[in-house]
């Protein structure tokens, strides 16, 4: 029987829908489990793991959430992550959009070299340079500071690339009108170009936020005290804090992903657009 036989197509269709439903369930069950565990008394987490009750706290309690604040300086750790992320995202938006614009629109000596630099450094993962960067930042006196977690990540080849390709596709008429009015490149950029580049800014913002919200290796290397340590280290450390109470650990986990989930749901479209630029259009 050929694949194009009506019956075969029907079977294929039904099979595909069953497979996608089953996989979606497999994907969502751990999330449901984590959420339910965060709302249960600690003893119930493992005791109820075997049945459907694993996914349903009855009755739900917020006790674990209170415990997190009692047992560690969650507020401080959360604030640390917020400060570091605000620095990386806002600084990155400014620095990388300006560079992307200049590379896309202005003619200057060194433009070709800068584009080559951007493309070459696009593929360097943090892991490849973590050890020498650690040495460099230590030399500059940046151990256990906020700036050591922010400054190295502000300039970002991938963000420059996204802005650069967006600005290449923007019609030039707007800028020419501004130039005729006597506006310099900076005024043109801030008053005319940037307001018309909201999609690019949204894409870079959400991608940068998600990546830096999860940074683990670098803060593990460069920080040592709770004064500056961010959430990804916080959750790993909280897990090893005796006594082990899984309900509390899951409450910590839920609270640390909340901002990322909210921001992602709000900016989902732009995230997909940014990722598509990188993976499809190139």
């Amino acid at each position: 029987m050929s694949l194009d036989h009506p019956l075969a197509r029907r079977l294929l269709r039904v099979g595909a829908l069953i497979a996608i439903t089953a996989s979606a369930l497999v994907w969502i069950l751990p999330v449901a489990f984590i959420l339910a565990a965060s709302l249960k008394p600690d003893a119930a987490v493992l005791a109820e793991a075997g049945g459907l009750k694993a996914f349903w706290p009855s009755p739900p309690t917020l006790e674990n959430y209170g415990d997190v604040f009692d047992r560690v300086a969650f507020g401080r750790i959360f604030l640390n992550s917020m400060i570091v992320n605000a620095g990386i995202v806002l600084g990155g938006l400014l620095v990388n959009s300006l560079a992307g614009y200049a590379l896309a629109r202005l003619r200057f000596r060194g433009r070709a070299v800068t584009i080559a630099l951007m493309l070459a450094l696009l593929i360097v993962p943090l892991e490849a340079i973590a050890v020498p960067l650690f040495y460099e930042i230590t030399f500059l006196g940046g151990r256990d500071s906020y700036w050591a977690q922010i400054v190295p990540f502000v300039a970002n080849a991938f963000s420059i690339y996204l802005f650069y390709s967006f600005f290449l596709g923007l019609p030039k008429e707007l800028e020419e009108a501004a130039r005729v009015d006597g506006a310099g490149p900076f005024r043109t950029f801030f008053q005319v170009v940037a307001p018309n580049a909201r999609p690019a800014f949204a894409s870079v913002a959400i991608i940068t936020f998600l990546l830096s919200w999860g940074l683990y290796l670098w803060p593990l290397m460069i920080t040592s005290t709770v004064d500056v340590r961010p959430l990804p280290l916080g959750v790993a450390e909280f897990r090893t804090l005796p006594p082990l109470q899984w309900g509390d650990v899951m409450a910590f986990a839920v609270m640390m992903i909340a901002p990322a989930v909210v921001l992602f749901l709000a900016l989902q479209r732009w995230f997909v657009a940014g990722v598509a630029t990188a993976g499809v259009k190139r």
Binding site: A49, G50, V272
Partner: protein, 290 residues
């Protein structure tokens, strides 16, 4: 002219200082016996660190583990992502819900995923995954200690990594599928192409660039493997889950051997370069922008 330089200077300076310079430093430091806080003078030792690594069973195991991880995760994750994207590219009730389910873990930091899965992997019959497999197999499943079993530890890390990362590849492939013009399918149909032929001769070639991108990115991620290892297994049991990055960090912080760790970084980066070059070869060239 001046404005253009001012606009690019902060970004160019940042990239040079915090990406370019460390790359050069890594290469330079890998040729020395540099140690953190050591009173001994730093000396050039040529390729000695690389020779040491070649003879170090721990590092060889780490490289092998990275390759093992990539060899499983890249095809599995790409196939799952492609399958999900193909189905999600058709209309059905609950499509948005399924897409969100697959994508949700992508926004979770890996450290949080690792800690959460440590609970799921809890040993003993009470462990959530053990209990789940016990009821699904109607009692045939014997409780295992996933993270401390030398054979199961690496596949356990693979499973949570696929769970966390698949949604991203799916989004890329879905975006790729949506750029394929409907007209191509129409004319294939007119030529009498069946469902399989349309997939083989229209979808796959049109999806080539996103597929190559996904494979290269997943391959690079496989070589970056660190967070899960550091949080869940510390490279154990008996080196079963150690990785190049884990070895590099241990060498730096437990043994202060920055020179040796730099040599590992250089080898790691060579691997990334190789993967990228591989990707470039298969990337379908389009007219250059700019």
């Amino acid at each position: 002219m001046r404005a253009a330089l001012l606009m690019t200077a902060p970004a160019a300076l940042g990239l040079l200082l915090f990406v370019g310079l460390p790359l050069i430093l890594a290469a330079g430091m890998s040729l020395t016996n540099l140690r953190l806080g050591s009173p001994l003078p730093v000396e050039w030792v040529g390729l000695e660190q690389y020779r040491r690594l070649a003879g170090d069973p721990g590092f060889r195991r780490a490289l092998l583990n990275n390759v093992y991880f990539a060899a499983v995760v890249v095809p599995v994750q790409t196939a799952l992502a492609l399958g999900a994207a193909l189905v999600l590219n058709t209309r059905f009730r609950g499509r948005a819900l399924a897409r969100t389910a697959f994508f949700l873990p992508v926004v979770f930091p890996m450290s949080m995923v690792a800690v959460a899965w440590e609970l799921l992997y809890a040993p003993g019959p009470d462990g959530p995954l053990n209990a789940f497999l016990h009821s699904v197999t109607l009692g045939a499943w014997q409780a295992r200690d996933f993270l401390r079993d030398p054979l199961l530890a690496m596949p356990s890390l693979m499973a949570l990594s696929v769970w966390q990362g698949m949604g991203l590849q799916m989004v890329v492939l879905l975006a790729g599928l949506q750029t394929i013009p409907e007209a191509l399918y129409e004319s294939a149909r007119l030529d009498g192409a069946g469902a399989w032929a349309r997939f083989r001769y229209v979808t796959l070639p049109q999806l080539r660039n996103p597929l190559v991108f996904v494979v290269v990115i997943t391959g690079i991620l496989a070589f970056r493997l660190f967070d899960q290892v550091q949080i869940l297994t510390r490279g154990g049991p008996v080196n079963a889950t150690t990785t190049v990055m884990y070895e590099a960090v241990t060498a730096t912080f437990r043994r202060q051997q920055v020179g040796l760790a730099s040599a590992m970084s250089v080898i790691f980066f060579a691997g990334v370069l190789g993967l990228t070059a591989f990707g470039r070869r298969f990337f379908h060239q389009r007219p250059e922008v700019a």
